[in-house]
Amino acid sequence: MKYQQELKDSIRKALPDLDVVIAWSGGFDPLHATPHFIRREEDIDKLEIGPFSVHNLATYLPGLRGKKVGIVVKGCDSRSVIELLQENLINRDDVTIFGFPCTGVVDQSKIRKALGHTGKVDFCQITSQTVVVGAGGEEHKLRLSKVLADKCFTCQYPNALISDHFVGEKINPSAQSEAGYDDLEAFENMPLAERFAFWQKEMDRCIRCYACRNACPMCVCRDHCLAESRDPHWLSQEDNVRDKWMFQLIHAYHLAGRCTECGECQRACPMDIPLLLLKKKMNKEIKELFQYEAGVDPEATPPLLSFKMEEENIKEREW
């Protein structure tokens, strides 16, 4: 990434006043990055930002409350930080935000699909247009646009919406339109029975690991989730679609109007369940009802965290 050095310099300057700065570094193979916690000067060298910086690091902020934390954010990640601020889950004074102009991150599932499998990767070179992956002794050339995360195609906010230090020049959003809900609309047009069958099939392979929940920056109950509570007893421990899906519905409801569509739930799922579709559905409804988008304005109150006697778009009296 073009601004990597600048970012390192900026972090180096701020580090003496911070307990930790969260960024990314190289992962277990050339196709993966990993969250990187910078505590000492020498940790800075390992920092790497680029198309593999997929993790939304805002997830770690509530757990570090009380510490002075620096965080590097993509545009979409900054929305999670804003939403956390809106909900008073973190203190603005304790967080130092480093932004950069983001040109998109990859979707590992798409790369896996394009290559067949990515178990043995020897190298990976990325330019602004292409990804060249050496896997299993062969060289594969992919168009970058084929493997970018869906959210990056419709991204309206490639520059952090909130930051204390911004490196590089702000860029214009590349999204042509607000086509973010096309896939959802296609899904909504399917007959009910088909939609039901779709979720039954997809949720069947859920292993109830709750990586989806724990990766979500807006899941606030943490160690007190109803998924595991025995009293009250919301869910059984059976291996059935009903309970697995019930959890996803509850999660989606709890995230309505708070979810920034960062996609971490889906990315974290080891079983590749298309969870984001459910979250997008809730957000689309919220957008239509309240003209509200989560994590954009630090001063705004999320609609489901406020109360109005008369809602403009919910006709409670005139059915």
Binding site: Y60, G119, R208, A268
Partner: protein
């Protein structure tokens, strides 16, 4: 001398179809984007050239299983007297798992030392374990996350398997490992494999060589104990952990469970379902006290259990078979190898005078 047979690649499906007449047969095929051990279905493509997303753990240790069925009844003469009628529900039938990797199957031997001991036998585990046969496939493709050679194994290891299949030109050489495995090799689709033996041996040599150099973990048990009380060490290595259950549930050698009763009205069932030491509830005591309050305590347990405490009581055997799934599927990129090596290399800071 163990019998060796050969099967043509094209005959694998017909052979599995034959076996499916007598057993439940599982083989790796895709469900969405996840490669899973699914009931054999001739219409589905069987995918053998890559490690499955999940090991075949569920075949012997289901995600959730019913242990007991119970019904309460009231005495009509004295309604305060309640009778419980409870029946154990033991699994029946036999299963054949085709195409799992050596590391995955070896994982069950880690279970065996815990569930099938002289002192105690887990009857549910035993019922499945005794009736599940593994036709294991030696690994043709070594992945970036594979490290079976660090933990005393190799890509042609037949430990825990009943038949070992080794890729050779045109198909697979089938080696009998156990007597009951030998019984699976009576199909007319199989021919004598003697002439392919040399090729198979060469394959095993080559594929073992394709793994990177093994790291010496002999000091891990002791070194992990040495950092046991060093919370700064554990806070640092666990900083990015999300405390989810992905690593544990995908692990072929993780065997922890929870027991719950699910009751509706006067009827109920007692379930055993997967549990994981990365969850805060795992050690939550009834008093509300939690001896492992943070993710650092929990990750310490996962790594320590596999590389130190288990080997200490089971003759030095590491309870990780090096499959690499916890590395590959961790949403936060935690690498268990890195943590173990860090503990081995850890030098306490010199005390300043």
């Amino acid at each position: 001398m163990a019998k060796v047979q050969f099967i043509k690649a094209a005959d694998v499906k017909p052979w599995l179809a034959e076996l499916a007449k007598e057993h439940r047969v599982f083989a790796p095929s895709y469900d969405g984007e996840a490669l899973l051990f699914r009931p054999f279905d001739p219409a589905r493509e069987i995918v053998l050239d890559r490690a499955a997303t999940m090991p075949p753990k569920k075949t012997v240790f289901p995600q959730s299983e019913q242990l007991v069925d119970f019904t309460y009844s009231k005495d009509p003469e004295d309604l305060s007297r309640i009778k419980i009628d409870a029946r154990e529900t033991l699994p029946s039938g036999s299963t054949v798992v085709f195409g799992s990797r050596p590391c995955d199957v070896r994982g069950f031997t880690m279970f065996d030392r815990v569930y099938l001991t002289e002192k105690t036998t887990d009857i549910y585990y035993k019922a499945r374990r005794d009736n599940t046969l593994f036709i294991t496939l030696a690994c043709a493709s070594i992945e970036n996350t594979c490290f079976c050679n660090w933990v005393d194994s190799d890509p042609c290891d037949s430990t825990g398997s009943d038949v070992l299949a080794i890729p050779v030109s045109g198909g697979y050489l089938l080696e009998t490992v156990t007597d009951r495995g030998g019984k699976l090799l009576s199909s007319k689709l199989l021919v004598d494999g003697e002439s392919k033996k040399e090729e198979a041996e060469k394959f095993c040599e080559e594929v073992a060589g394709a793994l990177g150099a093994a790291r010496d973990l002999s000091q891990a048990p002791e070194k992990l104990l040495a950092v046991f009380d060093n919370m700064e060490f554990w806070d640092e290595v666990s900083a990015k952990c999300l405390s989810c259950g992905a690593c544990t549930y995908l692990c072929p050698s993780c065997y922890c469970f929870n027991i719950t009763d699910e009751t509706i009205g006067m009827k109920g069932k007692r379930l055993r379902s997967w549990d994981n030491c990365m969850s805060a509830q795992f050690t939550m005591e009834a008093s509300g006290h939690n001896p492992r309050p943070t993710k650092a305590h929990r990750l310490k347990n996962r790594v320590g259990h596999k590389f130190s405490y288990y080997p200490a009581i089971h003759g030095g055997v590491t309870s990780c078979c090096g499959c690499g799934r916890c590395i590959k599927s961790c949403p936060a990129g935690i690498d268990i190898r890195e943590i173990v090596l860090k503990a081995i290399d850890f030098k306490p800071a010199a005390v300043e005078e």
